[in-house]
């Protein structure tokens, strides 16, 4: 047997051994990439296996349509007995069907809309609280943005594709993405998650009011609430002044840009605006001044515990004032502003009192030095006397 034949025989033996081994291996091992993704996922932790989702060999299985995917997930996720141990709700599919996504999929068979796997992933699904999950507050904006920032896709629905970009410039995004404050709203906080549906003009206030409860209550008492209730697009509760996706931290400057949108030719209302801004600005300035003074005194080691409590009270009044201006009721704003002013004055008077004590300490140096110099002179004189 020549060398070439020996090599061919050895090759054939190896090939038969390899194919025999492959035939006995479960098909999870064949899908290396999927297995890698599945490892560490929430479903692997729950003990799921490939065949729980894939009814046939995935190598031969064609991609499911999105409706089937939603129903396939719901087999477990709508089953109370299966979800109870994990404390998960079972109404996701029903909820989803009420959403714009679900409506389009189930009513029109639109395969472009998002379904479970588009947001949660497929093999590598993680629990929402996992920082790496696509649905974690720090990632959800980008997850929604995969479709909602896609200009081509959004144009087909006549939807803007800059909402995610705008959101990222907002104060809400600053809190979530920069400060790690996950109590601040993301897309799903306002729009919902499974039951994703854009808030209508009338519901916007209610959506904002979920967090800004006090502001909403006060707004309801304002003349603006009547305009909003009247409909006809005259006034859209929060959005008319604060905007929506690109919402910024509210400040007195907002009055300069928002009021004139409707009241540019209404001097009486603009006067109310000027008075309101004046009260808020004065209270904020007083608070800022008092804070600087108290902080400086604290760093110096002066006893400012009481003043720090007073400052908190001033801050409460300023916050209350900022919320109360939603009523546009000057008779309610003025007493709060006056109280804040009183507290600021009290704080500043306390700090001045502490400074006075320091002044007395400095004055105290005069008798101390007088005594010490007298003693030094006595010692000196006695020494001279002894030397002579």
């Amino acid at each position: 047997m020549n060398a070439a034949r020996r090599i061919m025989l050895a090759g054939a033996l190896c090939w038969s051994a390899a194919t025999a081994f492959a035939a006995d291996t479960p098909w999870t091992d064949k899908c290396t990439e999927q297995t890698r993704l599945f490892t560490g996922s929430a479903h692997q932790a729950a003990g799921l296996k490939c065949e729980d989702c894939h009814t046939a060999d995935p190598k031969t299985q064609t991609a499911k349509d999105k409706q089937t995917i939603a129903e396939s997930c719901a087999k477990c996720h709508a089953d109370v007995r299966k979800m109870n141990p994990y404390g998960l709700p079972t109404d996701q599919l029903e909820s989803y069907k009420t959403s714009k996504h679900g409506e389009a999929l189930f009513s029109k068979g639109d395969q472009r809309v998002a379904v479970c796997t588009d947001c949660h992933g497929t093999h590598d699904i993680l629990k929402v609280r996992s920082p790496e999950a696509r649905t974690h507050p720090s990632n959800i904006t980008d997850t929604c943005g995969r479709c909602h920032s896609n200009e081509k896709l959004m144009s087909q629905y006549k939807l803007p594709s800059d909402v995610v970009a705008k959101y990222k410039t907002s104060y809400h995004a600053h809190l979530v993405l920069k400060k790690g404050d996950f109590s601040a709203p993301t897309c799903v906080t306002c729009h919902g998650n499974h039951g994703a549906m854009p808030p209508g003009t009338k519901e916007v206030g209610q959506v904002c009011g979920k967090c800004h409860v006090r502001q909403r209550e006060l707004f309801e008492k304002s003349p603006h609430a009547e305009a909003a209730a009247a409909g006809a697009g005259l006034f859209s509760e929060c959005v008319s002044c604060h905007g929506n996706h690109a919402i910024q931290k509210a400040s007195p400057e907002l009055f300069q840009t928002s009021c004139i949108q409707c009241h540019a030719k209404d001097p009486k209302q603009l006067a109310v605006r000027t008075a309101t801004v004046g009260l808020i600005r004065a209270a904020m300035y007083g608070y800022s001044q008092a804070t600087t003074q108290v902080q400086a005194a604290t760093i110096r080691g002066l006893p400012t515990d009481d003043d720090q409590l007073l400052l908190q009270e001033v801050k409460t009044q300023v916050t209350q004032l900022e919320a109360l201006q939603h009523t546009l009721a000057m008779e309610q704003l003025k007493p709060i502003a006056a109280h804040a002013d009183d507290l600021v004055r009290q704080t500043q008077a306390d700090i001045a009192g502490l400074e006075k004590l320091e002044w007395w300490k400095r004055r105290g140096l005069i008798p101390v030095w007088a005594f010490l110099l007298s003693m030094a002179a006595l010692f000196w004189a006695k020494r001279k006397q002894l030397e002579s």
Binding site: R300, L302, P303, D305, V368, W369, L372, F379, R383, L386
Partner: protein, 384 residues
């Protein structure tokens, strides 16, 4: 019959009171050389300030709590609530600064008057050890208020230890009690500050004083030619010299109280390991070393900064000429003056580095080497 003779009689029945009285009397009335002047009082001032540190330190310990959660708050309590807490803390903090200053002046006086020469070499070596202990006191005590400045200055200070070849990382971890400055570091520094260093310094000072009393104060006479002070020729320690010290003590106490009132020690902001404040610098007595270290790579800088300290320790064994008068040992005088000027210059550069100054209407930013860089109006925020 007054009470003292009764007590003396009672003691005399039990102990050899006469010998003790004779010893105390001889020490009190021991004559000092006629050259003993005001410059000689800085040793006593250092001792007085050490006693001040012990007394005020014990009082501070009543309220101070050495943990990361309570250290800053307890210092705030001392400053704002405890009766005269501000004064006690001021006496302790400014006392430490003045003690280092007095020790330095005392050492400079000893150097320039050649008092370290034979037979007082060991007294000098002990003096250098006392100085080392004193600045270590300052370094460990600086962390205890647990404010931003103390935390970050200690972080920078202990980082230098890591530059020691081979053992650096181990020593740094040993000093810090972990990777970074933490509660472990605070506990270690506290133990060093209130237990180990006070006893070490007490022992060193006692031995230093004992040697000084046994060998007496040095005169300006060449060694080997010194003669014992004849009776009636020297200056009696008591009351003459003590009165002189009394004058200086009064001025020192006045300076101390003035500093406490006019430049009160700040409480600062609580240490935050996640926020590094700008312009972190060590205490003034480390500024020259701190600045020197910037001009060299880490390990080389460490050795360069150690050279003056080793020279200081071994100086009596290097300068072995019999002359004490500075006019007759000009090279030693020159080295001393150069060392002092270098320390002042580097200290000043360290102080002004990483700051912004205005010179003839122009604004300059000084970098880490204290090299000025002119600030353009645009950078200055005055473009218009």
């Amino acid at each position: 019959m007054s009470i003292y003779p009764k007590i003396r009689l009672w003691l005399n029945d039990r102990y050899d009171v006469a010998t003790v009285e004779q010893f105390v009397d001889s020490q009190i009335h021991k004559p000092l050389p006629k050259e003993t002047g005001f410059w000689h009082t800085f040793g006593s001032l250092s001792l007085f300030l050490f006693v001040n540190q012990i007394v005020t330190g014990v009082l501070l310990m009543i309220y101070y709590r050495p943990t990361t959660n309570t250290a800053f708050e307890s210092v705030r309590y001392i400053m704002t609530k405890a009766h005269f807490g501000w004064l006690i803390r001021g006496l302790h903090a400014w006392g430490a600064t003045l003690m280092i200053l007095c020790v330095l002046i005392h050492m400079a006086r000893t150097f320039f008057m050649g008092a370290y020469k034979k037979p007082r070499e060991l007294t000098w070596v002990l003096g250098v050890a006392i100085f080392g202990c004193t600045v270590t006191f300052g370094f460990t005590g600086y962390l205890l208020p647990w404010n931003q400045l103390s935390y970050w200055a200690t972080t920078v200070g202990t980082e230098i230890t890591g530059a020691i070849p081979w053992a650096g990382q181990y020593l740094k971890t040993l000093l810090r009690g972990g990777e970074g400055v933490s509660g472990e570091t605070l506990a270690r520094f506290y133990v060093l500050h209130v237990v180990i260093l006070p006893w070490a310094l007490t022992g060193l000072i006692a031995t230093h004083l004992f040697l000084m009393r046994v060998q007496g104060l040095a005169t300006m006479v060449r060694f080997g030619e010194e003669k014992p002070i004849e009776k009636g020729h020297g200056v009696p320690f008591f009351p003459h010299h003590v009165l002189k010290e009394g004058v200086i003590f009064c001025l020192l106490i006045g300076a101390l109280v003035t500093l406490i009132v006019l430049l009160p020690v700040e409480l600062g902001e609580k240490a935050d390991p996640f926020v590094t404040p700008e312009g972190i610098k060590p205490e003034w007595y480390f500024l020259s070393t701190y600045q020197l270290l910037k001009y060299f790579p880490k390990t080389i800088g460490l050795f360069v900064s150690l050279i003056p300290q080793v020279l200081l320790l071994l100086w009596p064994f290097i300068d072995r000429s019999p002359e004490r008068n500075p006019h007759r040992r000009l090279w030693a005088l020159g080295i001393g003056v150069v060392a002092l000027v270098a320390a002042l210059v580097f200290g000043l550069l360290g102080y002004i580095s990483e700051t912004t100054i205005t010179w003839r209407g122009e604004k300059y930013e000084l970098d880490v080497y204290a090299k000025p860089h002119k600030v353009c109006p645009a950078e200055n925020g005055n473009a218009h």
